[in-house]
């Protein structure tokens, strides 16, 4: 159970050397229903990651507040699992120990941690890699471990910050299907940040387009494609129509952002 309500949340970064402050996120409202899969889509630098980090409790909003199940977010916590774009596995722990990190912090005994890790390794296809260190793994396997590690706490929601951004195209497609399977099985509330339009449409039930500097939510597009979703859905006319609509919307923002940088 996790319904999120973002109430007038904005973020301003103080100016560098007495310069004017930079506004990353304009105060905005957003509600995410329990078990929903929402994608935040926008060009780089639009504040989508900042917004996600505020929900995670890793960054503080300048104004407004975030409620998860009616309780105000004051800091990071095990109820909101997160997967980062960068590889953040602990290099000194094996795959199994990385997955068991969260339960360990909660005081779960070793045998039980092992059971949790075994189940998750099977779910994300890492059986047989329990004793591997992260440096022995490919990028895709590292992110699968990171996903399993986030799931090990059985969080009410998942926050994903371009988790497949550093992966090659083929690996990324497989990871998308894997994450969809996880969502279809567990129905956790998901907030997924990406700049990849196709990825957003394929994964999410709602796609929110964010504008660049200051970050605002420009439009919302619902994705009425049924679950379970198969990769072949990416070739259906319905998929193409939604993708086109979003492309048009994003293009305007990218052009505006490019003009601002010129």
């Amino acid at each position: 159970m996790a319904a999120v309500s973002i109430e007038g949340v904005g973020r301003e970064f103080p100016g560098v050397r007495g310069g004017p402050p930079t506004r990353a996120v304009e105060p905005l409202d957003l509600t995410i229903a329990d078990t929903d899969f929402v994608a935040l889509l926008g060009p780089s630098g639009c504040g989508k990651s900042t917004l996600l980090r505020i929900v995670a409790g890793l960054d503080q909003a300048t104004e407004g507040r975030v409620l998860v199940d009616g309780r105000e977010v004051e800091g990071p916590g095990a109820d909101r699992g997160m997967v980062f774009q960068s590889y953040t596995l602990f290099p000194w722990l094996t795959v199994c120990e990385n997955i068991g990190f969260g339960p360990r912090e909660r005081g779960v005994p070793p045998a039980e941690r092992r059971t949790i890790a075994d189940r998750l390794m099977a779910q994300v296809g890492l059986t047989g890699f329990a004793d591997h260190y992260p440096r022995m793994l490919s990028g895709g396997m590292q992110q699968r471990t990171a996903l399993a590690r986030a799931l090990a706490n059985d969080p009410a929601m998942l926050l994903l910050d371009e988790p497949f951004g550093a992966l090659d195209h083929q690996t990324r497609s497989l990871m998308q299907e894997l994450l969809l399977q996880v969502w279809e099985a567990d129905r956790k509330t998901v907030l997924f940040v990406t700049h990849d339009i196709q990825e957003a449409v394929f994964m999410a039930n709602r796609v929110l387009v964010m504008t660049a500097r200051p970050g605002r939510i420009k439009t919302e597009v619902r994705v009425p494609l049924p679950h379970p979703r198969h990769w072949r859905m990416k070739t259906t006319p319905e998929f193409a129509r939604i993708e086109e609509e979003l492309t048009e919307s994003i293009r305007e923002e990218a052009l505006r952002a490019a003009a601002m940088n010129a």
Partner: protein, 271 residues
């Protein structure tokens, strides 16, 4: 038209960062020692240096043999090693926790850092006369010299290492439910552990310098004391042997440290 574009990439031993086989590494390492002894032999037996100033290799090792067999030098070596290890362990036991606390918690760092930075520059050897006055010429004085020389250096270097923990790993741990204690003990400490071991290895080397200086100035035992005694008899063979032995002990300690690091930190093999 024929020709090549760019420079041909020949597998050359001297291209930057080209790896070298373990066997070649050992051979090269030994080769330098051979050259060193050759140069020493030529300088002494060739008559380029007076025997009074530099004993030849054979005399040096014969002097070393006599030291051990006739003068009970093994006891001196043991005394010096125990001083180095004792002073170093006391310094490390106190410095490592303080360094970790400073690296992790910024108010603690703000409190100690300026003084430690100042104290780090105080030369340990300059304290020796003062320490003799305070503590006499007993073991406590030797340990204190090493402590002053090692403690502040270890504190500062460890504070920096801990403070350099990757932010994204700390953030990941927070989202997994870790608190301050978990972050320090189970993220920052293991992250910095290999470099902490490396720092300790480095400082242990400096501790050897401090102990010998302390023994040269005021001691009735130890390798430094032996070197000072030998000077009175102009026995360059013994003096050189003493210096040489310290180098050999250092080399062995280094190899030991490396082997232990490989055992303790298997996750970073191949780096």
């Amino acid at each position: 038209m024929t020709g090549t574009v760019g420079r041909r990439r020949r597998p050359s031993t001297f291209a930057p960062l080209t790896p070298i086989s373990p066997r070649a590494r050992v051979t090269f390492g030994i080769a330098f020692f051979v050259l060193f002894f050759a140069a020493w032999s030529v300088a002494t037996w060739g008559g380029f240096v007076k025997p009074l100033f530099l004993a030849d290799p054979l005399k040096t090792f014969a002097a070393g043999w006599r030291l051990f067999v006739e003068f009970g030098f093994a006891g001196d070596v043991a005394v010096t090693i125990s001083r180095v290890v004792g002073g170093f362990v006391i310094a490390a036991l106190l410095a490592v926790p303080l360094g970790i606390a400073m690296g992790a918690f910024k108010p603690i760092e703000a409190f100690f850092e300026p003084f430690v930075s100042f104290a780090r520059y105080l030369p340990a050897s300059a304290f020796i006369p003062l320490l003799i006055l305070w503590l006499g010429v007993d073991e406590a004085q030797k340990l204190a010299v090493i402590f002053i020389g090692a403690f502040f250096q270890i504190v500062l270097m460890i504070a920096v290492l801990i403070g350099e923990t990757r932010r994204d790993l700390v953030e990941a741990a927070y989202t997994l439910g870790a608190g301050s204690r978990g972050i320090v003990l189970r993220v920052m400490l293991p992250y910095a552990a290999p470099q902490i071991a490396e720092t300790l290895r480095l400082v242990l080397g400096w501790a050897w310098t401090y102990v010998i200086v302390a023994e040269l100035i005021g001691a009735d035992s130890g390798i430094g004391h032996m070197i000072m005694d030998s000077q009175r008899f102009l026995d360059t063979g013994q003096m050189i042997f003493g210096i040489f032995l310290i180098g050999a002990i250092g080399l062995v300690t280094d190899l030991g440290f490396r082997a232990v690091n490989r055992l303790l930190f298997p996750w970073q093999l191949g780096r």
